[in-house]
């Protein structure tokens, strides 16, 4: 048993962190809210150059053959910076199945749980996960209708797909990877929101003292931090289960997404309340991360949806001794 990341995995995470510090700060996010694509091209290009976009792609087709464990920290980091890019759709869902080319193009994905295709207008391929299998359609053949998200950088679209052949039956696995990637991003978002709040609470003074010295503030933030610190291990464990195709991987991923969604929502509540009015303005940066957290906590199945699946599994008559679920 070794439940930890390798130095290499941390180094890759740190490299991405450093790159995003340069190419995906709050200014970049505000630019994405305003520009045509809603994206951060410089960051995306760098991720491509670093090989991140093809990390999960089979070596045979030019990828790095990495596993979910290798990339989960990277995804958490993209959440930390609220990277406005379809990285989960591209890196986690499409590339591993060779549904798109390894030349830095992006994919948009629709599933019954996430029916709106994010950044579809700038995607090369629209991937659909259906009960019967996966389809991949060139954007040119897809009718898109723009929908507006509360997160100004997330460009959503209703899609009208032509009949196209099933290109892969790995639906379950693709879906789980999408869920895992989103759960990881939510942990990063929660972490970032709490950092912003601690920083603010240290310097903002009322009644002659920093508001962070008030017990009410401390306890709000402590509760949010606890929720996050107990969601992360479930996310990392789910990554490991996916990487070995664990029998109960879908349950492990569901546990992770339920916990990560709840943690991100609690962090956003605590962050906003502890900031007060300043956090309620769009001039302050908090909302850029908070609105992403709102969107992703509901995407790819929200906490209630995944908890329902865990519940159905726990209480299914065919469920083997529940302790097995603990292994």
């Amino acid at each position: 048993m070794r439940f930890a990341f390798t130095d290499e995995q941390f180094e890759l995470r740190d490299a991405v962190h450093e790159m995003l510090t340069q190419r995906c700060d709050a200014t970049t996010l505000r630019a994405a809210w305003a520009n045509e694509s809603g994206r951060a091209p410089a960051a995306w290009a760098a991720l491509y150059d670093m090989g991140v976009l093809d990390a999960m792609r089979p070596a045979a087709s030019g990828g790095l053959d990495m596993t979910e464990v290798d990339v989960v920290l990277i995804l958490e980091t993209t959440g930390r910076f609220a990277l406005p890019e379809p990285i989960v759709e591209t890196m986690m869902v499409s590339a591993p199945l060779d549904l798109i080319n390894a030349d830095g193009e992006s994919a948009a994905v629709v599933t019954s749980e996430s029916p709106f295709a994010a950044w579809a207008d700038s995607a090369a391929t629209i991937v659909e996960l259906t009960a019967s299998g996966i389809t991949a359609t060139p954007r040119s053949k897809v009718k898109l209708q723009h929908r507006i998200s509360v997160d100004g950088a997330r460009r959503l679209f209703d899609v009208e797909l032509p009949r196209t052949p099933i290109v892969s039956t790995e639906v379950a696995r693709a879906f789980r990877r999408g869920v895992l990637g989103t759960a990881a991003q939510l942990c990063g978002l929660a972490d970032r929101m709490l950092d912003l709040t601690v920083e603010y609470a240290q310097q903002r003074k009322q009644f002659g003292v920093p508001i962070g010295s008030f017990q009410a503030i401390k306890h709000h933030l402590a509760d949010a931090r606890i929720k996050l610190e107990f969601a992360r291990p479930l996310v990392y464990r789910a990554a490991a289960s996916l990487s070995v195709n664990h029998r109960d991987a879908s349950i492990h991923v569901g546990m992770a997404k339920a916990a990560a969604s709840d943690a991100a929502m609690l962090a956003s509540r605590a962050a906003l309340q502890c900031h007060g009015a300043i956090g309620y303005t769009t001039e302050y940066d908090l909302h850029l991360y908070m609105k992403r957290a709102w969107a992703l906590s509901a995407a790819w199945g929200d906490a209630t949806w995944h908890r329902q699946r865990v519940s159905d599994w726990l209480f299914s008559p065919t469920q083997p001794v529940v302790r097995e679920g603990a292994q």
Partner: protein
Amino acid sequence: MDLSFSPAEEAFRTEVRRWLASNVPNPPLPSGDTKDGFALHLAWERKLFDARYSVVSWPHEFGGRDASLWEWLIFEEEYWLAGAPQRVTQNGIFLLAPTIFQFGTKEQQHRILTNMASGEHRWCQGWSEPNAGSDLAGISSTAVRDAARNGWRLNGQKTWTTRGAFCTHLFGLFRTDPTAERHHGLTYLLVDLQQPGITVRAVERLDGDDGFAEVFFDDAFVADDMVLGDVDMGWKVAMATTGSERGLTLRSPGRFLATATKLIELADSLPSAATPQMKDRIAQAWIDAHAYRWQTFWTVTNLVAGGSAGPESSMVKVFWSELDIRLHEIALELLGPHAELVDGEFAHWMKGYQFALSGPIYAGTNEIQRNVIGERVMGLPRA
């Protein structure tokens, strides 16, 4: 104990319901926190005023109906259940007016109230400053005596002024005695925003509307007849207003009953999302909305009998502000991946959620309110 309304009150309810049914804008108006939306809301408020529905509880002479507290509550219930527009003039009508009735001279009342009720003058609140939020006594904007012109010269800055960008006047506290500290030496002033020396900068709210404003005072002028209450005694006057700010709650049960009803309709329209566990939470929220209604009836019965609302209003503020968030959280969960959309038929739920999130922050954060409850309601020692 008699929980029925009188025939007269029921008749009033019917009259109000009829009038609203045929007059409430449909489709609903756009947000009143944008320039254009605000103008449309003003037209609606003018219509209310002409029908004497703008300020039903006020005396007839100022455009009201001398309605009883009960009639006022009935009006509010019907107003919200009819899905009528949010009142963009509410800060004047519900926060300033009670103070003017209490502290204003007859002359001030006549000069100010009717114009306020008609929407001719729109009032915004100038409480907070960059360094005076929860700690309101930290106010540093100054008013210096200008004997020559029989008035005061204002300098400083106010912030988080709701709808300040669309208003004509501001009411707020200014430091008139520079030697006094904290709650002392403050004066309650009524300021015309349309004059040189005042700059108003709109500030975008979470939902993207220009709901806030910063107001900068650079030797702006206020005449003596715009001082409310005594000079240097502004804190006492202001406390009366923040009292009625939390007292706003007196009018809001109808708002949450309406939201709870819409929530049930939403669940009915989304059968696959409306699981037993969601229905359980909806039932709880609906019960809470009614708890608020009856708690209000309890308070109003007491007020009608001559009682007064004390620090208990802090409990009310915490309760409704957190109920409002719960109601919207449930709706967003029902909507699942559709929740993030701010276009389409469900957009008002995300809009409402963002609005609800301000509840525990404004009018004294819920943390401050809980301190007040602990200390002034329960008698726990101050820190």
